[in-house]
């Protein structure tokens, strides 16, 4: 019997070890799995490498994980946020390192990692500092740069609905990185606002097939980062 459901966010992230690489879904607040991130803060794993498009806002969610000094390396495309000084402070201090990746290259590196493609050539970034030191090749007359696939020990993502097999639906622009991260995480952990029995999701509408999902935890009313930040919240 296949049942990915676990009872709590604490149980879902209980085995994340120090030094793990963790992909975290979301573009800005849309799709950010705040409850899973807060559970990871409570759990205490440190020395993490986090792969996520941004670095969070305010002092909740991903920004709170960074502020708690759990993240020694960020792989992301846009670490600046108007309302958060958490990442800049730890980056300037030298505590949290940064690998900056163009957003589309980041998405494709994650997709490739999940799809068993170790590396690929792309024209994005050629002639820029982000391509320096990387292998180049001219293909069909166009100069390209070699980029490597990304995988992770864990992927933490947010869905609107999941069934017990781990089939997923998303909410609007909260989908963003979640489908490719689900593929690239060796253990993919999902917080879903609704959890249903197999057969209740239309197979034609499923966005992420359950084969990519290991654990589903029901978080019925997820918090919104912007509302927490507006209320001046910080975690823990």
């Amino acid at each position: 019997m296949i049942d990915t459901r676990v009872a709590s966010v604490a149980e879902a992230v209980a085995d994340v070890p120090d030094g793990a690489t963790v992909m975290i879904g979301g573009f800005g607040e849309a799709g950010s799995p705040i409850e899973l991130i807060h559970a990871l803060i409570d759990q205490g794993a440190s020395g993490l490498t986090v792969i996520s498009n941004n670095c969070g806002s305010g002092e909740v969610g991903l920004a709170a994980l960074i502020k708690a000094r759990r993240v020694v390396r960020m792989v992301c495309s846009f670490p600046r946020t108007a309302n958060s000084t958490v990442f800049p402070e730890l980056y300037r201090e030298g505590f949290t390192a940064l690998e900056l990746v163009p957003q589309g290259t980041l998405a494709e590196r994650i997709r490739a990692g999940g799809a068993g493609i170790p590396a690929f050539f792309t024209p994005t970034g050629v002639g820029t500092p982000l391509a320096e030191g990387k292998e180049h090749r001219t293909i069909d007359g166009r100069e390209c740069v070699l980029e490597h696939g990304l995988t992770a020990d864990y992927a933490l993502i947010k869905a609107r609905a999941a069934d017990a097999h781990g089939n997923l639906l998303y909410n609007k622009t909260a989908r963003n990185f979640a489908p490719v991260m689900a593929m690239a995480g060796r253990t993919t952990i999902v917080q879903a606002a609704e959890v249903v029995e197999p057969g209740e999701l239309d197979p034609e509408a499923v966005v992420t097939p359950g084969i990519f999902v290991d654990r589903v935890v029901h978080v019925p009313s997820p918090a919104h980062e912007s509302e927490l930040v507006a209320a001046g919240a910080s975690y823990p």
Partner: protein, 211 residues
């Protein structure tokens, strides 16, 4: 500037507008043209911002501001979104600039300042893949330095990628021979544009003045 860019976007185009001034272009699309706006965080068919206080936290644009989805819209993941961009499926993007060189190099993501937090987002992918790249920018910096230059001194976003530049003074193409004046803004003469452009500017025999 935004109005002038909007005039040049053909009916039926799939368009990505960068964050900031490029976003204003959507306000000026001439009556009767249907454009489909792409926002790289995963939406085609992006509509205007909702009323103040409205909207949803998980329906946002690349600038992380709340937007709406028009009838016929679709949502998709990041890898598909950048397949649209890198794969040449988008007709046009409009971006801001720190500098544009006479060969169409664009610098728009970093001043290279040692204490800055570098952040690039999707700009390098957009310039690498979208069919036509328009830049909208002030002709000079706040300090009066030309932004249209011989060679960019800031870190590049892409090499040889810009097709056309819209400034407060003029519309200028990046042509095989370098910068080429297309149109003057109202009340601006050629000498002023020549003086404020940091690279040779080819001036055709006939140059129109915009409305």
């Amino acid at each position: 500037m935004a109005r002038r860019v909007a005039e040049d976007i053909p009916d039926g185009a799939y368009v990505n507008l960068g964050i900031g001034i490029p976003e204003l272009v959507a306000r000026f699309v001439p009556e009767g043209r249907e454009l489909v706006y792409h926002t790289e965080n995963g939406l085609l068919g992006m509509g205007p911002s909702p009323e103040a206080g409205g909207g949803e936290p998980e329906l946002i644009n690349a600038g992380k501001r709340r937007v709406t989805a028009l009838p016929g819209a679709s949502y998709f993941h990041q890898s598909d979104s950048f397949a649209m961009i890198r794969g040449g499926h988008l007709d046009l993007c409009v971006l801001g600039a720190l500098q544009v060189s006479r060969t169409g190099d664009l610098a728009n993501w970093s001043t290279g300042a040692p204490d800055a937090i570098p952040a690039v987002g999707g700009a390098m992918d957009l310039v690498a893949g979208v069919k036509r790249v328009f830049v909208i920018t002030q002709h000079c910096t706040k300090d009066g330095e030309p932004k249209l230059v011989e060679t960019c001194t800031y870190p590049l976003t892409g090499r040889g990628v810009v097709d056309r530049v819209y400034t407060d003074l003029a519309v200028i193409d990046v042509a095989p021979e370098g910068f080429r004046l297309v149109e003057l803004a109202p009340g601006v003469d050629v000498d002023l544009v020549l003086e404020r452009t940091g690279a040779p500017l080819h001036v055709p025999a006939e140059v129109t003045t915009g409305a």
